[in-house]
């Protein structure tokens, strides 16, 4: 039985009871309890089932390293899976449910897997699910999905809010135990900006439990004083419930603050992600106790010795009436004495060491506690709860000497420094043989921009076990990171400790039968025998063995299991532990919420939306929007009850018959100016721009050095030294950067200046047979074909608004694109609508624009191009200068593969039955490739229903396409069938170009 003691519990307030619900049952706890201590106070030891065998799982630890106590927390929009009971603070109304059980925690069908364990060995995914291949989809995958994952994904939208902080500090101290407090105190005295963070709700770490004397006072008093002194320093910031999640390049760090998890009614953000730039980072992250590997070490009631002590001292909770302590070091004796002093029974301390006579051992003996040295636990007895242990000689194979009845086992395999943050950015470790631990190697720290180490481990995280050493270390590190001389060190008194005996198997010669019951990873069900099997099967690298066995791959990331696992591997392959090494430590230290990572970037704030000056009109006028880069462009303007498809057809026909109005403001507009601007544009475009007369327009293509087409648009010469380059909507920023790159990094002596004026102008296209009439009605400048012929530009006013008019056409119709100052964009749009009313003017959207251009066989960057297409593939040779000695992409286009006559080239495509070919469909070729798949000979790049022609039209790239006009070839329809398609000219409408002059 675990229960609440009558006295004790320094963190709980016995005057304030709190009710929590677990699996639908109410439990009484106290303010200050964790969910773990509240459950244990009510004898609820069983909290979950393991992943593979569905073994009953009890609480093992008291902190962030807990592998078993994972619950679904909250409901609906506040639901969160995999919450650790040991770090969840209780509040009135907390609800939790255990995970990975069916139909109930007490009776679980999946537990049959235990009986089948010989069929589920290490690497069982790889072995069992390989053959036959046909079983994968319908048998193996559903089975794995059914049993995969401990928690459930939330189904409702997260109801909480989250935020992020940016912080710049000189010194970040992670961990608020003795080491962190003292390091922050010392560093803080320098006046530097110090941020001290502690993952739990309490300062002082374990010191208050183990209670050394510091400066002649109890640790708890010293901690309180230290926090008060820190709070008085204006340059020091303190945060509890804030976990140091990761350390990254050049002193960047992430911390995760839990603001309202312990008091959800407060209405503040739930979590806060701190993005910290720190000059130096002190990791005072302490140590984690290791379990011991003995048979049955996973039976509920077996717990870390330190956790047993924590529950008694911090929460006044007894784990059992009779607790056997098993250890290989002195520290666990503290647990025995705490329990003894609380009036509980410690039937025996089982110590694997043949000799044990440190101060703590002597003190325990003096209290009359039975100490058995050179002994081990052969096996733990019990099912859902410990009922006893069988002890044996540690040197032997496990034959029982004696059974001891007990209801709890407190184990200690020694302590491991928490080196995660030290290691995240490349800090190296050394194996300390004497202390049996990996600790930071101060000579190989992670280095910053100046080449010097920027992470400084201190105290327990640096391998210090005794309070006096921890405080000395903290003063030294605190002084060093703040550039001061080390000052006075508080005087600490705690017990001297005898040497540890490394124990990786208990007993050391345990039989296979026992090793198959020794758990390393409680959450993922990895046993000593699994790691040994992996080693026998050749998985000798620690990284391979980890993946093969899944050791340390659960949500706890192996905080308890990694060192024990690699030590077992070390033994199995007869390689010393330091040569085996550790697996890679990766952030975050403990899981952080997705909400904190997103911060406020959700919903409307997920990304900025760019809006044209006419956006408001679109919104009010039935526009269906589509995202184009960060812009929202009208896809079509729906009238009455028509569908988007009907609207597009109407818009197309109206442009062809009357006149349409397009908001083209999103087109990129780059001014290129200077004495060398012409020369520069000749290098950027495939054709010649320097010879373009002032006032004329020319369509241009831009390639990268590989020769691939990256953008297109109309270039206008505005003055002798000034050109205006139109880019695609998505290309404006990219092409601007492209120009800057070449100007700054290659031709930096050329006198050219580029300005991106995309948002300075609204651009409106007036398109259709009546376009000229609309502009003439607006009045202000001569737009006749004599004065303003095709591919020319003129400045003037239209309807009283300053305008630059371009006679260019992307539809084949008579077309004017008019740029006006952005502030006048909406007024000009309204004026066009008013003037065009009598001519049948209607706005049109991007889909209509696409259909219009496809009917004319015009290419679209991103449809006809995909980064592997050169202009020659698109029959655009006419836009490539033969005279120029050089332009970007020219050399690339001369490569043998680019001039291969078998390249896929652009053609028009028409189905024999008039239907619309699916987008992206492939043309089926003859024969099969090496994988037995059918060969292809082309693909569709654009496909639409043409209302003008009343049938489907498409463009595509087809092998030797232009040479095969009239040929009929099959294209896939995506449903296993094909459709016959005729290769035709890519210009479907007005091949002669008669319409564009009106």
């Amino acid at each position: 039985m675990s229960t609440r003691l009558a006295r004790g519990g320094r963190l709980i307030n016995r005057r304030k009871a709190v009710t929590v619900t677990f699996n639908g049952r109410n439990y009484k706890g106290f303010e200050g309890d964790t969910l773990a201590s509240a459950l244990l106070a009510n004898d609820q030891m069983l909290v979950g089932r393991s992943f593979k065998y569905h073994r009953p799982r009890g609480i093992v630890a008291s902190g962030a390293e807990e592998p078993n106590g994972l619950v679904n927390l909250g409901q609906g929009g506040g639901f969160e899976p995999n919450a650790r009971v040991t770090t969840t603070e209780v509040f009135e109304g907390l609800t939790a449910e255990s995970q990975n059980h069916w139909p109930s925690l007490e009776f679980d069908v999946g537990a049959i897997n235990t009986a089948l364990s010989r069929f589920l060995p290490a690497g069982f995914y790889y072995k069992m699910f390989l053959h036959p291949r046909s079983f994968w989809k319908h048998v193996y995958e559903p089975f794995i999905r059914q049993s995969a994952g401990l928690g459930q994904a939330p189904k409702a939208r997260d109801q909480d809010t989250y935020e992020q902080f940016n912080a710049h500090v000189d010194v970040l101290v992670v961990g608020g135990g003795l080491a962190g407090l003292q390091a922050a105190l010392t560093a803080g005295q320098s006046g530097l900006r110090v941020l001290l963070i502690e993952q739990s709700a309490h300062w002082g770490g374990r010191a208050a439990v183990d209670d050394p004397l510091i400066d002649g006072t109890p640790a708890e008093f010293w901690i309180k004083t230290a926090v008060q002194r820190l709070a008085a320093l204006p340059n020091v910031r303190l945060r509890t419930r804030t976990m140091g999640a990761g350390v990254y390049d050049h002193g960047y760090a992430l911390a995760h603050e839990r603001l309202t998890d312990h008091a959800p009614e407060a209405g503040k953000p739930r979590h806060r992600l701190w993005r910290i730039r720190a000059g130096k980072i002190v990791t005072a992250t302490g140590m984690i106790e290791r379990p011991l590997s003995f048979a049955g070490n996973d039976i509920p009631g077996v717990m870390l010795a330190s956790a047993v002590r924590d529950y008694a001292v911090d929460f006044g909770v007894s784990i059992g009436d009779r607790t056997v302590v098993v250890t290989n070091n002195d520290d666990a004796y503290r647990t025995a004495m705490v329990l003894h002093q609380a009036g509980l029974i410690v039937p025996a301390i089982i110590d694997a060491r043949v000799q044990a006579d440190g101060a703590l051992v002597r003190a325990a003996r003096d209290l009359g506690i039975r100490v058995e040295t050179g002994r081990a636990i052969a096996r733990v007895k019990g099912g859902k709860r410990v009922t006893g242990v069988t002890i044996c000689a540690h040197a032997g194979e496990g034959s029982g000497l004696e059974d001891i009845a007990c209801d709890a086992v407190a184990m200690s395999g020694g302590w491991s420094p928490v080196v995660h943050l030290w290691s995240h950015c490349g800090g190296k470790l050394i194996w300390d043989e004497g202390l049996a631990m990996f600790r930071p190697d101060a000579t190989r720290p992670p280095t910053g921009a100046d080449g010097a180490g920027f992470v400084f481990p201190v105290g327990g995280a640096n391998g210090m076990l005794r309070t006096a050493d921890v405080l000395t270390d903290a003063v030294a590190v605190g002084a060093s990171v703040s550039g001061q001389a080390a000052g006075d060190v508080p005087v600490a008194v705690d017990s001297e400790q005898g040497a540890i005996l490394p124990v990786w198997l208990m007993p050391q010669g345990a039989t296979l039968k026992l090793r198959q019951k020794m758990w390393l990873d409680y959450q993922n069900d990895v046993k000593v025998s699994d790691v040994q099997l992996a080693a026998r099967e050749g998985y000798e690298s620690v990284e391979h063995a980890k993946r093969y066995t899944t050791l340390g791959m659960a949500t706890d990331q192996g905080k308890l299991s990694n060192i024990n696992g690699l030590a077992v591997l070390s033994g199995a392959i007869n390689t010393p532990i330091p040569q085996v090494g550790t697996t890679t430590f990766r952030p975050p230290y403990t899981p952080i919420s997705m909400g904190a990572i997103a911060g406020v970037a959700r919903g409307d704030l997920f990304q900025p939306v760019r809006k044209t000056p006419i956006h408001g009109w679109h919104e009010a006028s039935g526009a269906e929007f589509e995202p184009v880069g960060l812009w929202r462009r009208p896809y079509a303007f729906l009238q009455g009850h028509e569908s988007a498809h009907e609207a597009v057809n109407r818009e197309v026909l109206n442009v062809r018959r009357n006149v349409g109005l397009l908001d083209a403001s999103t087109l990129g507009k780059l001014i290129v100016k200077g004495p060398d601007a012409g020369r520069f544009l000749d290098m950027l475009y495939t054709n010649v721009m320097s010879t373009l007369p002032v006032g004329k327009c020319r369509y241009g293509l831009m390639c990268n050095e590989n020769g691939f087409l990256i953008d297109d648009g109309v270039v206008v010469r505005m003055a002798e030294d000034t050109w205006l380059c139109h880019t695609t909507t998505g290309g404006a920023d990219r092409i601007h950067a492209h120009m800057e790159d070449w100007l700054q990094c290659e031709w930096w002596d050329w006198k050219v200046y580029v300005a991106n004026v995309t948002e300075q102008y609204a651009q409106i296209a007036v398109v259709g047979p009546n376009a000229r009439k609309v502009l003439e009605k607006l009045d202000g400048m001569d737009v006749t074909k004599e004065v303003l012929p095709f591919m020319t530009s003129a400045d003037g006013t239209l309807g009283g608004i300053a305008a630059r008019v371009f006679r260019i056409s992307f539809s084949g119709e008579l077309s004017y694109e008019i740029a006006v100052p952005a502030s006048q964009g909406r007024a000009f749009w309204d004026a066009c609508l008013a003037a065009g009313a009598e001519f049948g003017i209607q706005p049109y959207g991007t889909e209509c624009l696409h259909v219009l251009r496809a009917e004319k066989g015009f290419i679209m960057i991103g449809d006809e191009t995909d980064g592997t297409v050169i202009p020659q593939d698109l029959n655009l040779g006419w836009a490539i200068s033969k005279k120029k000695s050089d332009y970007l992409g020219k050399r690339g286009q001369e490569r043998s593969h680019m001039v291969d006559p078998k390249r896929w080239k652009l053609v028009g495509l028409e189905t024999v039955d008039g239907s619309v070919i699916p987008d992206g469909a492939y043309a089926v070729g003859t024969g099969t490739n090496a994988n037995g798949q059918k060969n292809t000979q082309g693909r569709v790049t654009s496909t639409y229903f043409s209302p003008t022609l009343g049938k489907g039209i498409a463009m595509g790239l087809v092998e030797r396409g232009p040479e095969r006009m009239g040929e009929v070839i099959p294209f896939t329809k995506g449903n296993g069938t094909t459709v016959d398609v005729r290769i035709v000219d890519q210009v479907f409408y007005d091949k002669a170009g008669a319409k564009q002059d009106g």
Binding site: D249, A449, C745, S885, R891, R895
Partner: protein, 109 residues
């Protein structure tokens, strides 16, 4: 998350303000070059564990391209300098030599 100091505006910029641009000091080969020369220009890149020269743009700052000399292994930054340099300037080379005696990178040392 590297921090690099822009040599133009002097800002110690976080990596989020910067755009990486690959290897520095490439010599362009255009029409008339051999296949081997063009291939090297386009695709052959150093991949050192140690001293390296890179192009960066202060994209969300002053917009200027600059070059950085740094150690890809230790993340030490030896210095940044303007993009209008066909070779690392002497003070950058000296800074590297002080920390990595005997270093070489392509034809530079």
């Amino acid at each position: 998350m590297l921090t690099l100091t822009c040599p133009y505006c002097g800002v110690a910029a976080d990596e989020t303000e910067l755009a990486a641009g690959g290897e520095a000091h490439l010599k362009r080969f255009g029409p008339g070059s051999t296949d081997a020369e063009f291939d090297t220009y386009m695709f052959a890149r150093e991949n050192p564990k140690g001293v390296h020269f890179e192009r960066w743009r202060h994209a969300y700052g002053c917009g200027k391209w600059f070059l950085a000399a740094r150690d890809t292994n230790t993340l030490e930054v030896f210095g940044t300098y303007p993009a209008q340099s066909s070779a690392p300037p002497q003070h950058i080379r000296d800074a590297i030599t002080a920390k990595r005696p005997g270093w070489t990178w392509r034809d530079f040392a």
